[in-house]
């Protein structure tokens, strides 16, 4: 099956669109416009990034809680009914920005994002590849944590670890990660990684599809902003 429409777009373009949309929401204060934007973003997540609806709903939970907090605080601290309206608007803004980031996280493959940032956004290759190596290390962290806590459990001879012991586990994890980080830095350098000029073997394409996406997004957002409430 072909990847989703947004997954076939250039990740730097996606990142730019997410940032731009977030900036635009900062200038919107009314519930209908922000609500429309949020709905459009949800639609983009489902159709454009092929987010499974259940996964999308679950991923919304932290943003929904955050938004609810904003609504409650504003409703209680500002005079009614403006307080509630402002709260809902700010909450929708949080939901819109959150959903936009979810789309990016789902559609942009990490390697493609970094390579394209180096290609198209002049990100330093040292930083990009260090981030990629760090991302790989991050994937190992849960496994390392399980190993360390299991080892401490065996030594403690108890059913569960006390907070103090968990603290020691965290320390062990930190020390181990620092060590791995040093080794990774050495490994990257020993592959000849510098900030100097380099070639790219499998470049990330940037094409007409991306231009079209930018145009469509610009039009849609402009329409949302321009249509009278």
């Amino acid at each position: 099956m072909r990847p989703a429409y947004l997954a076939r777009r250039n990740p730097t373009v996606l990142l730019g669109l997410v940032l731009a949309t977030s900036v635009v929401t900062l200038f919107l204060h009314d519930v209908p416009r922000l609500g429309a934007l949020y709905a459009l973003l949800l639609l983009a997540a489902l159709a454009g990034a092929r987010f499974p609806p259940r996964r999308l709903a679950l991923a919304q939970i932290p943003f929904v809680l955050f938004a609810a907090g904003i609504v409650v605080v504003n409703a209680l601290t500002r005079p009614a009914p403006e307080g509630l309206i402002i709260g809902v608007a700010l909450g929708l803004r949080a939901l819109a920005i959150g959903t936009a980031s979810l789309i990016l996280a789902r559609a942009a493959e990490p390697r493609a994002l970094m390579v394209s940032l180096v290609q198209h956004a002049r990100l330093s290759p040292r930083i990009a590849y260090a981030l990629m190596a760090g991302h790989r290390m991050l994937e190992h962290l849960p496994g390392r944590w399980r190993t360390i806590t299991r080892a401490h459990l065996v030594r403690s001879g108890r059913e569960r670890l006390s907070p103090r012991q968990l603290g020691r586990c965290a320390f062990a994890l930190l020390v181990g990660s620092l060590r791995s980080g040093e080794r990774l830095a050495f490994a990257l350098e020993s592959r000849g990684l510098t900030d100097g000029p380099r070639t790219v073997w499998r470049p990330v394409p940037l094409g007409r599809g991306d231009a079209l996406l930018v145009a469509v997004c610009a039009l849609v957002v402009a329409a949302v902003v321009a249509v009278p409430a």
């Binding site: 990490p110 390697r111 290759p125 590849y129 990629m132 190596a133 991302h135 790989r136 994937e139 190992h140 060590r179 791995s180 040093e182 080794r183 990774l184 830095a185 050495f186 490994a187 990257l188 350098e189 020993s190 592959r191 000849g192 990684l193 510098t194 000029p197 380099r198 070639t199 790219v200 073997w201 499998r202 470049p203």
Partner: protein, 440 residues
Amino acid sequence: MIRAEQLEIVLPGGGGVGPWSGSIGPGEHVLVLGPSGAGKSTLLRALAGAVPQHVHGRVEGALSIDGIDPIRAGVAATSDRVGFVGQDPVAGVCLSRVADEVALPLENRRWRPEDIGPRVAEVLAQVGAAHLQERETAELSGGELQRVALAAALAARPAVLLLDEPTAMLDASGVAAVRRAVQGLPAEVAVILVEHRLDDWAGERGLAGLPPRTIALDERGRVLEDGPTAAVLARHGPRLAAQGCWLPREVPLGPARMTVRDLHVSRGVRPVLRGLELDLHGGEMVAIMGANGAGKSTLLESLASRSPRPGLVLQNPEDQFVAATVRAELAEGLPAGAADRVEAMLARIGLAEHAEASPYRLSGGQKRLLSIGAMLLHGREVLLADEPGYGLDRAAAVRTLRLLRDAADEGAAVLLTSHDAQAAHRWADRVLRLEDGVLR
């Protein structure tokens, strides 16, 4: 290609490695050997340009690799000529896809994109990892990852490959895969290898499977010798072993205490031993296995009459008892001032409470311990034991074998016969089979 003049790396703690002067030519394979803490990894890292950037320390003397000074140039610039593979496969592979990992050094060296794909496929095939090209590195085993790391180190065609315990975290098949990959390198690539698992690395070929040249370091990082591997191991093997280095099986742990050449023994008209050859070295325990009637006991009897006179423990300890009490049995034949040693041995073999008992009243295991203890007190250089674990329960057999193992670790040459393959392999340094009158 590599030239070093009084190269010495001094670490902040005062330790370090060197000075080393020498050169390593194209295609030469060199083993660096030394106890842990000798600075083997530090030396390799210095050659890779990691001192002082990644390893705090100071470098003295001069170093040049193919015209590059790694100390000045740093890791990235040195990597044009030097590939490095470390011991941790997880931290040695940076990216999440195998092909990207191997392509990274080529991109960084500005290879033309159209040349990169073929080279990635070629170098992965060279290390036996062609099938891994499009895999995610997170899914790979240690042995597979290490081959990917090797491919990445070789991709840009370095002149020198540095291997810092590349097999430390691998199983036997992983070791074999990495070794095959290194042996299949282009002839002009020089290799410097730090490795503990020399037997695994050498494989079937024994010493011949190791790099032909060895630089041996002592525990303070000084160069003991830089020369042909066999000669270096012969001269410094015992010292390195005493400092805790793993050495190949063939390297004697101590001087030869007894040498047997072309031994022929017949029982009546039937030849039992036919041209048997054996070297027994101080510090080693050799187990001889073989079917009943293969001639194991004949061999022991024949060795027992040789010089230097070995200590001998027979299968049935009662055959050897000469005294009325356990204490007197131990003291038999010792000078008068040896009472302390007798008491110490009583405690060691756990018979202090039975010191005044008759040796014949002991249990089977105690009798065996007593006969071995009595033999050990004479401090013979060679100890022979005929089926020392025979007929004992497990605990007693373990105590008996441990006593003999300790004697070997204290410098004696111990030879025992055994029917118990498991015990033989667990306790002995070498297990030989007596078949058709010779040892195999």
